[in-house]
């Protein structure tokens, strides 16, 4: 997938300014940058949840398999192809099972065996299965914050997305679980394109194949992980940011 000269304005505020990026298939693409640099806005354009904000103006293209997302009519089909995890965990007020089975059911899957398998696979992938396997009837909202975050990840995987977007997924999760999920991501990238927005520069370093650095609504630099974290990235700003000299 790719972004072509993407600009986003919220009223008078420029959130993204002419961002062009190519995200290679089946890899982990890290996006780093300070707060307010447009990282989340970028993700919201991919599944068009940007539409829910008021007074948004979009310019440019967001290409998924060559189709321009911004011109797409069938948003439901689009969103089913994209898994989205936002920083604050949201357990739906349903049982753990129903939380994960929600998207498949809404897409028309009713076969109990199929759902059972799907739910178990997704929960295992999100490193949550062992903690909830004996209490699938528990309300999703009653789980702890970290568990809810992994539930959110399981839900994002439940509709078998081709692209998985993670926005600061590790904020509410302890380091050990974060490591477990990171292992899963490395496994998943065989089948799924992963876009990882993170404030933890080291997380991007550990996981990403390519890294893009956003600052002030603009793309500063994009390159392979090795290049971005080397002694000689193209931009001085990148060097400073990844080493923590920035600001």
């Amino acid at each position: 997938m790719a972004f072509r000269d993407l600009s986003v304005r919220y009223g008078a505020k420029q959130a993204l300014d002419g961002v062009t990026l190519d995200v290679p298939r089946h890899s982990i693409f890290g996006i780093i940058g300070p707060a307010n640099s447009g990282k989340t806005t970028l993700l919201k354009c991919i599944n068009r949840t940007i539409d829910f904000a008021t007074g948004v103006k979009l310019k440019g293209q967001v290409l998924v398999d060559g189709d321009d997302v911004l011109k797409m009519r069938n948003l439901y089909a689009l969103r089913r192809r994209i898994g989205m995890v936002f920083p604050l965990p949201v357990g739906l007020p349903l049982s753990v099972y129903d939380n994960v089975a929600y998207a498949p059911r809404m897409a028309g899957i009713t076969n109990r065996d199929e759902l059972d398998t799907l739910v178990e696979t997704c929960l295992r992938q999100a490193a949550l299965w062992d903690e909830v396997k004996d209490r699938m009837g528990l309300l999703g909202t009653k789980l702890s914050g970290g568990q809810q975050q992994r539930l959110t990840i399981a839900r994002a995987l439940s509709h078998r997305p081709e692209i998985l977007c993670l926005d600061e997924f590790s904020i509410a999760v302890d380091p050990v679980t974060t490591m477990k999920i990171e292992d899963v991501l490395v496994e998943l990238k065989e089948k799924v394109t992963i876009i990882l927005v993170t404030n933890l520069v080291q997380q991007a370093h550990r996981l990403a194949d390519h890294v893009a650095f956003l600052n002030n609504s603009k793309l500063v630099e994009v390159g392979t992980c090795k290049h971005m974290f080397s002694e000689t990235p193209r931009e001085r700003l990148t060097f400073d940011y990844v080493r923590g000299h920035f600001g």
Partner: protein, 315 residues
Amino acid sequence: MADAAALTAHGVTDEGNTRFAASDVERRKLLVERIAASILGLVTCSLVLPLVGIMAVLIVKAMPVLSWAFLTQNPQKYMTAGGIWAPLVGTFYLVVLSLAVAAPIGILAGVYLNEYAGDNWGTRIVNMAVVNLAGVPSIVHALFGVGAFVLFAGMGRSVMAASCTLAIMTLPVIISSTREALAAVPQSFREACWNMGASRWQTIRTIVLPNAISGILTGVILQVSRAAGETAPILFTGAVFYVATPETGLASSLPYGLWDRCMALSYHLFTITTQVTGVSEGLSYATAVVLIGLVISVNLISIGFRVYLRGRKRW
């Protein structure tokens, strides 16, 4: 002992401990605090007095008349004797019918306004209409009812016309309470569903409505007491002074048809207190007690319902 020693070590002793002694400013602050709390408390408690007073007077004066027979008999001897069965059933008819009209329309409109409508001038006009409709005096509703339902729609003065008028009156409140109940469901739930490719309606059906239904129903139930208590809207549209209703058989329990005129408790109370001579005081008071009892018990049901549902709140 060890504690005391530790405290002493930190310079805290019983005598000469000035660190926590109240200064003049603090003493005055405490005094004012106590006065403020008692005045506020007193005023709040005094709010209960009117209700208790009204109920006490009513019940004491109604006592001699109140009985099962009073509830189940029809008015007799030009309303100076007998019970209140016919008006009681009339009120029941009006409440049920008006809510049958207002609840579906109000709830559907509320869902649309809260879940679908964008922020545009069309929505703003509807919002303004709802707010202003809620502020229209009930007697104006009555006149509207005469024009729209009795005359224009050709319903004549009937249970149906009166119910429709009451429905128009309760509609804005049902819409507002529906919207409030829906707005109380966190936006993040909706976004989580949309992110998974669920449509708006799927989200509403599976997540939003199940979690808002308690609030919505509470709003509807509260309108029962309003519809039961109002006199003006039914005055010109369907309620009448007296209807001779069957005394026996099935027809006595369901005496009115949709196109008949009916008696109603609130209007009945008005007529026997001011329009008919020779009605014993007890009869009016007893009617008032039944009316108030009806309203209070409906409110209690709604409160109980709310408490029950809050107990199973899911987030």
